[in-house]
């Protein structure tokens, strides 16, 4: 039996509202809020990046796992905003946790799917007996070009999962994948901001792959939407995951606990993993959870978990996602946001 042993998240305290961004670019905030299903998004502090968010999320995961960092056989960090172009984020994370030196480390990239890449690899690695425990982190401090639609959603956050074969809080029942070459979103080398295919990111990209993976895993498991207690779909905005869930036959009560994007934004590699963490914050033993990620380029990973008794014992050992998301927020204006995101720099 393999599954999740501990989980943890980190969300920056800063937020910017859709109205604040729209005001600067002369855009119509109500139509953006309606069209994207977003109200606000998280903004990393100037001293936060993918490495810091990953470490702080992973420390929370260790608290719930109740294992020593030296017991981690692998550390994988999935992100599209690694602090270095060349120097693995995983080395910083492993060292900060105290997992070095006997730890296999890699940085993963697959647009917004890099977080579940790590989860997929660690689950199967641990299942095969290579390591007793392994850590998978999905984290990003994503950027959208000023004035672009992405600027309203590109947010920051991290979710970390420790995988093992004992002390489980959620048992893995099935995995599946759905992947094709679909150029809906990309960033070329040496460019700062990504580009995207506008409406092309919808039906042939997000919806095709998310529903492909969801239908594939449900077919493999012999399960129907009504057999799940909860479902989480990648959240590039507040609208797509709800549309996908409805199209597949899920009900609001199944997706609501894991839907964070309306007030968090799209944390890219952290997006659906943070939705899973928020769902684990409310799940009861025996509840079944469907997780489907999506990464542009494009592909989806799908997982089915069943919560165990231990989940309720360890839940309170680290901050809940909703606590990090809803409490002690600091709202900033566009000028501060531009400074924090280094869109403007002070002359030295």
């Amino acid at each position: 039996m393999v599954g999740i042993v501990g989980y943890g998240t980190q969300i920056p305290r800063y937020r910017i509202r859709v109205e604040e961004i729209a005001k600067v670019w002369g855009a119509d905030a109500p139509s953006y809020k309606r069209g994207l299903g977003l109200n606000e998004k998280s903004v990393p502090a100037p001293d936060e990046d993918t490495a810091t968010l990953s470490v702080n999320a992973a420390r929370n995961a260790l608290l719930r796992a109740g294992i020593l960092p030296q017991e981690l056989g692998a550390v994988y960090v999935g992100s599209e905003s690694h602090p270095y172009a060349v120097k693995p984020t995983g080395t910083i994370v492993s060292e900060a946790l105290g997992a070095c030196p006997h730890v296999h480390t890699a940085d993963l990239e697959f647009a917004c799917k890099a977080g579940t890449e790590g989860l997929f690899i660690t689950l199967h690695e641990v299942k095969s007996g290579v390591f007793p425990y392994a850590l998978a982190v999905g984290a990003d401090t994503s950027q959208g070009a000023p004035g672009d639609a992405l600027e309203y959603s590109a947010a920051a956050g991290a979710a970390a999962f420790i995988v093992g074969t004992d002390r489980l809080i959620a048992e893995l029942l099935h995995t599946d994948v759905f992947m094709t070459d679909t150029p809906d979103f990309w960033r070329r080398e040496y460019t700062h901001y990504p580009e995207h295919g506008g409406r092309f990111t919808g039906a042939p990209a997000y919806f095709k792959h998310v529903s492909g993976a969801a239908l594939g895993i449900m077919d493999k498991a012999g399960m129907k939407p009504q057999d799940f207690t909860y479902c989480i779909f990648h959240q590039p905005n507040g609208k797509f995951p709800v549309q996908a869930a409805k199209q597949l036959g899920f009900q609001e009560a199944q997706w609501l606990p894991g839907l964070l994007s309306p007030t968090l934004g799209n944390t890219y590699s952290g997006s659906s993993p943070m939705g899973l963490a928020a769902t684990l914050d409310v799940a009861k033993p025996g509840d079944t959870i469907l997780l489907v990620s999506y990464g542009s380029g494009a592909g989806s990973d799908a997982f089915i978990f069943r919560a165990t008794e231990r989940l309720t014992e360890v839940r309170g050992m680290a901050p809940l996602v909703r606590t990090q998301l809803d409490e002690h927020r600091v709202f900033i204006e566009y000028g501060t946001y531009a400074k924090f995101r280094r869109k403007i720099l002070k002359a030295e």
Partner: protein, 132 residues
């Protein structure tokens, strides 16, 4: 700061690695070669919990090079739960709302970077413990 100098301090900066005297149990941070309490040279490595109480602080309004975009920011000494005082930047806070006696926890943060092409230096910073 040179790369090797930073690298040598990684256990302290990243994991709050301290020294504990095998003779009298005194904890020192950074770890000392000779115990200031009993003079013993035998030490074990321990990790601070990262929790403590703000003992004193000052607000930097005229920052040194490399910190210009962060001013005003606070530097404080926190009495850690293990009894040792630790000085670091206090981040994620309203500097005008800080009070001596506030409960603090450490978070892993960027401290500085060596220009646009050099290394990024990470270490502990304090944040007010608000449960997030």
């Amino acid at each position: 700061m040179q790369v090797p100098k930073f690298w040598r301090e990684i256990p302290r900066y990243y994991r709050l690695e301290a020294g504990k005297c095998d003779q009298c149990g005194k904890i020192t941070f950074p770890s000392r070669l000779v115990c200031p309490e009993c003079g013993s040279r035998e030490h074990s490595k321990v990790h601070l919990s990262g929790r403590g109480t703000l003992k004193t602080f000052t607000i930097i309004r005229i920052p040194p090079d490399g910190f210009g975009d962060q001013a005003p920011y606070a530097i404080g000494i926190v009495q850690m739960d293990e009894g040792v005082g630790v000085m670091a930047q206090i981040t994620d806070c309203d500097v005008d709302a800080l009070s001596i006696g506030d409960t603090m926890i450490t978070k892993f943060r960027r401290v500085r970077e060596e220009g646009k092409t050099g290394i990024i230096m990470y270490a502990y910073k304090f944040v007010p413990d608000v449960g997030v």
